[in-house]
Subunit: 118 residues, 4 copies
Amino acid sequence: MTIQDLQQALADFAAEREWEQFHTPKNLAMALAGESGELVEIFQWLTPEQSAQVMQDTERAGQVREEMADVLAYLLRLADVLDVDLEQALAQKIETNRRKYPVHLARGRADKYTQLGE
Amino acid sequence: MTIQDLQQALADFAAEREWEQFHTPKNLAMALAGESGELVEIFQWLTPEQSAQVMQDTERAGQVREEMADVLAYLLRLADVLDVDLEQALAQKIETNRRKYPVHLARGRADKYTQLGE
Amino acid sequence: MTIQDLQQALADFAAEREWEQFHTPKNLAMALAGESGELVEIFQWLTPEQSAQVMQDTERAGQVREEMADVLAYLLRLADVLDVDLEQALAQKIETNRRKYPVHLARGRADKYTQLGE
Amino acid sequence: MTIQDLQQALADFAAEREWEQFHTPKNLAMALAGESGELVEIFQWLTPEQSAQVMQDTERAGQVREEMADVLAYLLRLADVLDVDLEQALAQKIETNRRKYPVHLARGRADKYTQLGE
């Protein structure tokens, strides 16, 4: 399935339930933030090492998948109602970051680009 | 580009910079929450009506695209390191929600499924 | 009760349960983000007008109080473990914002300070 | 300063700038989520150990204080416009959690109360 197919499925789902009235960009951005919050909660008390093993617990794995699907759903809906081409936006972002974080300066460092090259 | 292609591009980007060490699921979930927060900030003082016009302001439109790309990037990275099939997770979620929110009960209502059918 | 009293109660609660090991600043910041996400979810489908009436629904009012208490609890714990004086930090912030948002420029405008005076 | 004093200072600040129109509960909840997102970003690439040392870097310490003040400011404003007594809400929450997380079951465990006593 392409991103467009997924967006169409979500748009149909909303239209069948007359939910477009709730799907303003403002509300969808809130819903996305809410789901990201639920995702982060799964990891909040885990050590980094435990977080890498999270999918080995069946129940938690299911929660992770659900919350990630929710984040994706709202992100796709938001892109749809705002007519944002997500693939293009991401490709541009990668290009921008390629310039901001040149390999020879950014290697092995988690610093923001404004702090590289110091 | 498929979701897998985008994930590969992001994985290569991280590997070239030796950033895999930072990309634990815990950290990626945090980064996703952070970017969602930046996205929500764009909309926080807008009325619902203004939020629907947000792409007509060139500067804001650029910010929206950037923040959405950031959210997508971290979501794809997280799915990659956790080996989650996002398309499948979303398809399952839509199926689940089809049962939780039957059209005849959910039409025109923003209530949680636990409150439908009352 | 002062902020210090509340912090002491929360510190005692954590100590009794040997939870200090989980209360790293990183984890507490995540928990704070998670609770903020739950708070935002309560409001996500409400119109601005409905959001102003949210406390008239007893069940929702209870949820709002709970989520706000959770946000406050993690904020106070984070301030405690980082030894941040929240009152002083807020007083300084208000002072800074007084300069960034002079009344004659900011009146009735929701713009960021960088866009005032244009 | 009491919580009420801080709320009064923030209410005056908003009133002087005619910002009450923007301070709907919905918008304030979004602003709170946005600031929580900025706070979590400071910690996202840090190890738990590094996060515990975050205040030793003067620049980062200043950022932490600022973001925490922002979170507190929006939380206090939201409580004010919703007429929520934050202290009371937190005291009740602590009482509830005392029952949900009895010491003999919760000691040294980060599990949710629904998973204790298994």
